[in-house]
């Protein structure tokens, strides 16, 4: 193993000290949501203790201070994904809201009956259902590019589905059910060569790798704070400025307007045009703290460490008789989905929980993926930068023991 200061990092996450059913917590449900470092917890608490007031409204000192911290968090987020301007950083509740925002503004304004939206067979429900709703509203058609048995997008099939009628491509950057990292640069180039904009669902990719929206040249990028070691209830929609300028607003209300009379309303400029109502102020500032914390460690170092963890886990898993890994893409992030012969994932989940090991058992909000592999559900261990090889040993020993118990 290369040197990665995992022991030091663990000390920054107070919850890792918890005992679950009298055993040390082994938290391997990071793809659902990951734990928060002191930097985030303390920042949020500090905001409420010292800096809290509504943003963008008051002339009083506290409101100015709160607005400054809020906007400096937006700048940290911008820099983290290398967006060109903070005007392109829209604060939302999370990935789900970010995608719905694009569907209901860009989508509604641009789609006509018979137009097509292209997604892949490995999408999370939140990158399926908003498009289905949009199709119902506009008469557009949802097209789905297939995956192969390894859980990789079949790029040639994807390319065939890019047609004259395709108006938008929406693809997951890294799959939460399979771990697959999609060849997004290639996907974007293929779509752009036909002038089709691309939205990336970055919910899973963002905590595992450095993301540069300008290098990718994606048109929209959506992610959630809570999977990035930050608070829940806050997420981001990155959009290219020209697209955002041309889009109608999402929700109406305070903050998103410049001037309101009963006859007419003038909308605010970017990014506020898309941010109606009071945001989750302390949480946005908390997300800024999470990003600072990650910058200190370095996303490339995190990616390298997690790749070693995944390799270790995969090798161990392959030695277990009766275990089948679901998702064996060549390009894969730190997620190990699996099923066991004759043992249901829910039983695996409960049994591992009794050992202090938290994994996810279920369909992972990707029911079409479960149907593709003809399994009702999978068990999923998903790793974060604070996990260790010893924890993977606890997991694998647990799996071997429960196979024995089930007989």
């Amino acid at each position: 193993m290369t040197h990665f200061p995992v022991e030091k990092i663990r000390l920054d996450f107070p919850i890792l000290e918890e005992k679950i059913r009298n055993k040390p917590l082994v938290y391997l449900d990071n793809a659902a949501s990951c734990q928060k470092p002191n930097a985030v917890i303390d920042t949020i608490s500090h905001v409420y203790r010292h800096d809290y007031a509504n943003v963008h409204r008051g002339v009083h000192t506290l409101s100015v201070r709160s607005t400054d911290k809020f906007e400096s968090a937006r700048e940290k987020i911008r820099a983290f994904i290398n967006a060109d301007s903070t005007k392109e950083i829209i604060i939302t509740k999370g990935t789900t809201e970010s995608i719905n925002l694009v569907a209901q503004t860009y989508g509604k304004a641009n789609l006509k009956p018979g137009d097509e939206i292209l997604i892949t067979a490995m999408e999370h429900h939140s990158n399926i259902v908003p498009w289905q709703m949009l199709c119902e509203q506009t008469g557009a058609i949802l097209k789905v590019a297939p995956i192969n048995q390894q859980g990789e997008l079949i790029v040639t099939e994807f390319e065939k589905l890019l047609g004259d009628k395709t108006r938008l491509v929406a693809v997951v950057h890294m799959s939460n059910a399979l771990g697959t990292i999609n060849p997004v640069k290639n996907i974007i180039d293929l779509a752009h060569s036909r002038s089709i904009p691309v939205l990336l669902d970055g919910a899973q990719a963002i905590p595992h790798m450095a993301v540069d929206v300008q290098a990718l040249d994606c048109d929209f990028y959506a992610f959630s704070g809570h999977k990035l070691y930050g608070p829940s209830g806050v997420g981001i929609l990155y959009g290219k400025r020209a697209l955002l300028e041309a889009m109608p607003p999402y929700q109406g209300g305070g903050d998103m307007i410049r001037k309101v009379t009963f006859e007419e309303t003038e909308y605010n400029s970017l990014p506020y045009k898309f941010e109606a109502g009071t945001p989750s102020i302390a949480d946005v500032i908390g997300l800024g703290a999470a990003i600072e914390y990650l910058n200190d460690i370095g996303m490339d170092a995190i990616a390298a460490y997690e790749a070693e963890l995944l390799n270790y886990a995969t090798e161990k898993a392959k030695q277990i008789k009766g275990l089948r890994i679901i998702g064996e893409a060549a390009e894969k992030g730190a997620i190990l989905s699996f099923v066991l012969d004759r043992i249901h994932p829910h039983d695996i989940g409960t049994m591992l929980d009794s050992l202090g090991v938290a994994i996810r058992a279920g369909h992972h909000c990707a029911m079409p993926v479960m149907d593709f592999y003809e399994v009702p559900a999978t068990a999923r261990a998903s790793f974060a930068m604070y996990n260790t090889q010893q924890e993977i040993d606890v997991l694998m020993n647990g799996i071997e023991s429960l196979i024995e118990v089930f007989g």
Binding site: H346, T350, M351, L355, A361, S401, G407
Partner: protein
């Protein structure tokens, strides 16, 4: 290693999971209802053969976790020969036992089903145990459709 789980995963449950009873399609069934738990993907089809208001035969097909498989397997055994009213009463008692509302529930009243009392301590798993019974309830009410625990 799994000592804490002994109340939940009793040997009877493993046994029924390995060798589910009445696990077959019933061609001449009077009632056939599907149960689905979207949370975990458990799916079952329950078949009943009625003789008047007496359940003459019961069988099932489907796949689920050990708790849900054992629960439906035990249920098909226990409801055979019972009247609809008796089966409904049993459902009610079973429901109280698994959701723990009535601590003083008489375990004798549910007979063999008592092995499932352990789910009470695992709120996330209660639906696994009750899916079979909700499906039965729908079948007895003659709702020929699929039911869901959600």
């Amino acid at each position: 290693m799994f000592d804490d789980l002994r109340d939940l995963y009793q040997e009877v449950i493993f046994d029924h999971n390995r060798n589910p009873r009445n696990f077959r399609v019933m061609d001449n069934a009077d009632r056939k209802v599907e149960g689905f738990n979207p949370l975990c993907g458990d799916r079952l089809t329950l078949y009943l053969k009625m003789s008047g208001d007496v359940i003459e035969d019961a069988s099932f097909q489907g796949s689920g976790c050990a708790i849900s498989t054992a629960s439906v397997s035990l249920m098909t055994e226990i409801i055979k020969g019972k009247t609809e009213a008796e089966a409904e009463a049993l459902f009610k008692t079973f429901h109280e036992m698994t959701t723990g509302k009535d601590e003083a529930i008489q375990l004798e009243a549910v007979g063999k089903l008592a092995v499932l009392a352990g789910v009470r301590e695992y709120p996330a798993r209660v639906k696994c145990a009750t899916l079979a019974w909700h499906t039965l309830d729908a079948a007895l009410k003659n709702e020929q459709k699929s039911i869901s625990t959600e």
